[in-house]
């Protein structure tokens, strides 16, 4: 279980992270979320071109036991999805902050990032 939170990104209360990469916002779930879910066996990725609204559901992640919604940390249009997750959903467990990224969206409103937590605040949220 990873306890080091990257500080190059922001976090939502629903346990997603978002990192700016040029003009794109890269989205994923945190190690906290992945650990809570357990062995992840399926990810339903959003469609290319889909418009995401901040804090709305944009996909689904399934563990052996349960189905969970993915909530967009920011609004934007889906420009790219991580095809690796189709064959290797377990990447969300092994490397949720890196190789387990879920989607890249064109950020529609940079100010939305202000509504998210920084690493320290998210760490506090998820502490014990």
């Amino acid at each position: 279980m990873s306890t080091t939170l990257p500080d190059d990104r922001r976090y939502s209360r629903e346990h997603e992270w978002v990192r700016i990469e040029g003009s794109m916002a890269v989205i994923g779930i945190t190690s906290f979320a992945a650990d809570e879910l357990g062995d992840i066996v399926y990810v339903e990725l959003p469609e290319l071109g889909a418009t995401l609204a901040q804090f709305s559901s944009f996909g689904v992640v399934e563990s052996v036991k349960a189905v969970s919604d993915l909530f967009a940390p920011v609004s934007g249009d889906v420009a790219e999805v991580n095809e690796e997750l189709r064959g290797s959903p377990e990447l969300l467990n092994t490397d949720p902050f890196g190789a387990g990224w879920i989607a890249k969206v064109t950020l529609s409103d940079a100010a939305e990032m202000e509504q998210l937590l920084d690493a320290a605040a998210y760490a506090e949220l998820t502490a014990g």
Partner: protein, 351 residues
């Protein structure tokens, strides 16, 4: 940890997949102390047991056990249980969630019937610890002098395990060889710790509710609350062979005889998904494009790597090989009806 029928229980200790694989390949350890244990004794304990359940405890040899159900007068299942013939009577082991319903039913039958039977609810004082897997016998052999070699499937003997008095039963809910050890709650922690430490070099892992569910589903075993409930009769659930009409009168006999005559309206089937969607409890099943049935349980099978499920379909449409669709988040996904169980453990003498 989750709240489960009034108990705090772990869904997993490490990972559902790991725990599942440990039971299939080595030995897993389950704490099942939440289960209910109802003890019957006295001159008419057998007659009472034969009246209360649908199977025939009269067929049990000393030390033998049988899978059974308590049904209501309308044939609906109150609980599925295992009935053990023990030295001083019979032990009915029931699901924790149905403890109150089973006790109420047994007390009602005793009060209204004319049976000379003593009914004792031993649930609170009885712990149940279950080592399950191909190495379970080896593990237990290190901790008991009881003759495990002659203890066959669905049989039990009293014995000492790690110094603790137990009823040692060769029963389980995983589809593997294994044991269920009934002991006093006062000795449970000590017994658990002895099994954990002795089993370390055998690869033993403690296992939670998550793997308990994936294991039984692979083995095609029903779960009360999913496949079975008060609205289901044994014939619908593929459990007609458990009902022994020839033993004489028992609760639900008339209703069940009628179902047996006409055939059940719906049938429990196994499904294997054809694509990578996972079918889950409550998802609709379509036959020829229209909603016809419902999924009762489903998961990704850790052993088989397939997406498996059980579902009820109208009897006329239940057929191995039949094609159906499961609605997953409003989209239909193809599935095939398959024979149960999905998994059977290899026979010991298989080449």
């Amino acid at each position: 940890m989750v709240a489960y029928a009034g108990y705090d229980m772990p869904v997993q200790y490490t990972s559902i997949m790991e725990e599942h694989r440990t039971v299939r390949g080595a030995v897993g350890l389950f704490d099942l102390s939440h289960m209910g244990e109802m003890h019957l004794s006295g001159p008419e304990a057998l007659a009472f047991a034969r009246y209360a359940v649908v199977s025939d405890p009269g067929l049990l040899e000393p030390g033998q056990a049988q899978y059974s159900m308590l049904c209501a007068a309308d044939g609906g299942i109150i609980d599925d249980v295992i009935v053990y013939r023990v030295e001083d009577g019979y032990l009915i082991v029931c699901n924790a969630a149905n403890h109150d319903a089973v006790l109420a039913q047994l007390e009602s039958l005793r009060a209204h019937g004319d049976f000379d039977v003593t009914l004792a609810d031993r649930s609170e004082e009885t712990a149940l610890i279950a080592p399950q897997g191909p190495r379970a016998a080896e593990l237990l052999g290190r901790l008991t002098d009881a003759d495990l070699a002659t203890l066959g499937n669905y049989r039990s003997i009293p014995g000492r395990v790690a110094g603790t008095e137990c009823l040692i039963a060769r029963t389980g809910y995983t589809g593997e060889d294994g044991f269920e050890l009934f002991c006093s709650v006062r000795r449970a922690k000590r017994l658990w710790e002895a099994l954990i430490s002795t089993g370390a070099d055998l690869g033993l892992k403690p296992c939670g509710l998550g793997s308990r569910d994936t294991l039984r589903l692979e083995a095609g075993m029903p779960l009360y609350g999913n496949e079975l409930d008060r609205s289901v009769n044994p014939y619908e659930a593929n459990l007609g062979r458990v009902v022994k009409m020839e033993k004489g009168e028992f609760v639900g006999r008339a209703a069940l005889a009628a179902v047996q005559q006409t055939g059940p309206a719906r049938k429990l089937v196994g499904l294997t998904m054809r694509d990578d969607a996972i079918a889950r409890h409550g998802y609709p099943v379509l036959v020829d494009g229209s909603e016809a049935g419902i999924v009762t349980s489903g998961t990704l099978s850790p052993t088989l790597g397939e997406r498996i499920a059980m579902a009820y379909l109208p009897a006329a449409q239940a057929a191995v090989g039949g094609e159906v669709e499961v609605l997953v988040r409003d989209r239909p996904h193809p599935a095939e009806q398959v024979k149960l169980p999905f998994y059977r453990r290899p026979k010991p003498d298989a080449a």
